[in-house]
Symmetry: C2
Subunit: 300 residues, 2 copies
Amino acid sequence: MITPFKYAVLALFLAGGTALAASKSPADILQGAPAGDWRAVDPDNTLLMEVGGHGVVIELAPQFAPRHVANIRTLAHEHFFDGLAVVRVQDNFVVQWGDPNAEDTAKARSLGGASGKLPAEFSIPAKNLPIAKLPDPDGWAPVTGFVDGFPVAEDPARNQAWITHCYGVVGAGRDNPIDSSTGAELYAIIGQAPRMLDLNITVVGRVLVGMQYLAALPRGTAAMGMYDKPEQMAPITTARLLADLPPEDRPKLQVLRTDSKTWKALVEARRNPPDAFHVHKANFTNICSLTVPVREGGKP
Amino acid sequence: MITPFKYAVLALFLAGGTALAASKSPADILQGAPAGDWRAVDPDNTLLMEVGGHGVVIELAPQFAPRHVANIRTLAHEHFFDGLAVVRVQDNFVVQWGDPNAEDTAKARSLGGASGKLPAEFSIPAKNLPIAKLPDPDGWAPVTGFVDGFPVAEDPARNQAWITHCYGVVGAGRDNPIDSSTGAELYAIIGQAPRMLDLNITVVGRVLVGMQYLAALPRGTAAMGMYDKPEQMAPITTARLLADLPPEDRPKLQVLRTDSKTWKALVEARRNPPDAFHVHKANFTNICSLTVPVREGGKP
């Protein structure tokens, strides 16, 4: 197998914080992080979705898509997603779930108290946004970095900031009209970051826990990865805001603060891995090559 | 759902050539490609691997890793991989198969007529390499483009060229010593391109067919995505060079020539999608955001 050392380092980043004996600098960095470098997730803006028997936790991004997130919170509160399913898995692209008829008013499921019409929320003003900038150029955008754990790009000249389509990022499906998404149908990225979707679709959050289940769902065999038959679809049993769950049923998740020195050190360890395996150190990284650590119950 | 139009375009790229009625420019570009813009795969350097009942086709890259590819060809010829399995699936990183004890001489499976010791083949001379350059900067490398369908980066100042770790690229696992890989254990990339592996490991080829099965294998739950139990492992029934199969059993695969005008037009359509969905055109793309079309039996 490939060197256990290197893999431990990568596993740490990719799994978001499983400390392993053989790992070196990134694990040490995380172990040494003060408690204040971690933040709890907000129960009002975190969704626990049971998909095919697995728990998937999605952190919503009200700062970036206030109207869509408010709608999704209403939908979850009213149990809109219960009984729906994953309807599409396209390899190296997206897993998609919710109401497949969301944009067809004749067939769409009732949105209850949620709104059926929302403005596009593709970007927010970049000015004064507290972004922890990455030192390396991105290509797709003039500036990249992290805002409260979310991967973000900025175009200062246009005063625009937006969440980038990295692995695990969740967006609201839309049709050609830019205001045709409601959050009733959502997708998560399961492959190479499709950055051409940036500024073209409303991003509503990111998966904190459970990508390993979503990304391993069987690919749909119909056009665009759609499932042919209902029995192929992983069912969504429930989708609840943590705030709507009894406190004892809420996952106790913490996210590493991306405005912390710990995160800065982790980024640098990724740019120049401090190990014997990497004989070539790239001295470079990219916004979608980084994963912000998440831990449960105060343990990495 | 997200607009069928946009998805058709993406599906075309990501699935590598399924023409769809709703698709526009990229599909039209491919439809209009002259026969000479496609090339057949070389039966001597293409591997058909049966994994968990699914066919996976890997195109080897002798130009980039002659010694490793020769070794893999010998191993396949001697049925080395038959009865081995997928031993590891780490989410957003790699699926790995072959002999998990490849680097432990006490436990390793006999390599038969293949070599147990090979030099590292991390790069080749860049000078005079016929690369179809991309117009956009990469960040990880000064130059990127395609050589005969393979995603390649170049550093002209160092006269180095190498296959980049994009989705579906296949490499030879190694331990810390750079000359510790033989091809007896291989991995394929199943997530965001781990470009920090570039120039650190010998890349031997890329998956032409079957990524949708490899990437959907259950993630291993032990450290680094290793499987805990043998029964979790998808078995490799056979792995054969196409040249070792009767002609009638060989998949009739063709790869779009990346030195063709058709490919150049497809790249441009990716940089600036000619559709109504993309209200923001990035005017940019990246080496790992492109997938070279593959077709079977002369049909996209």
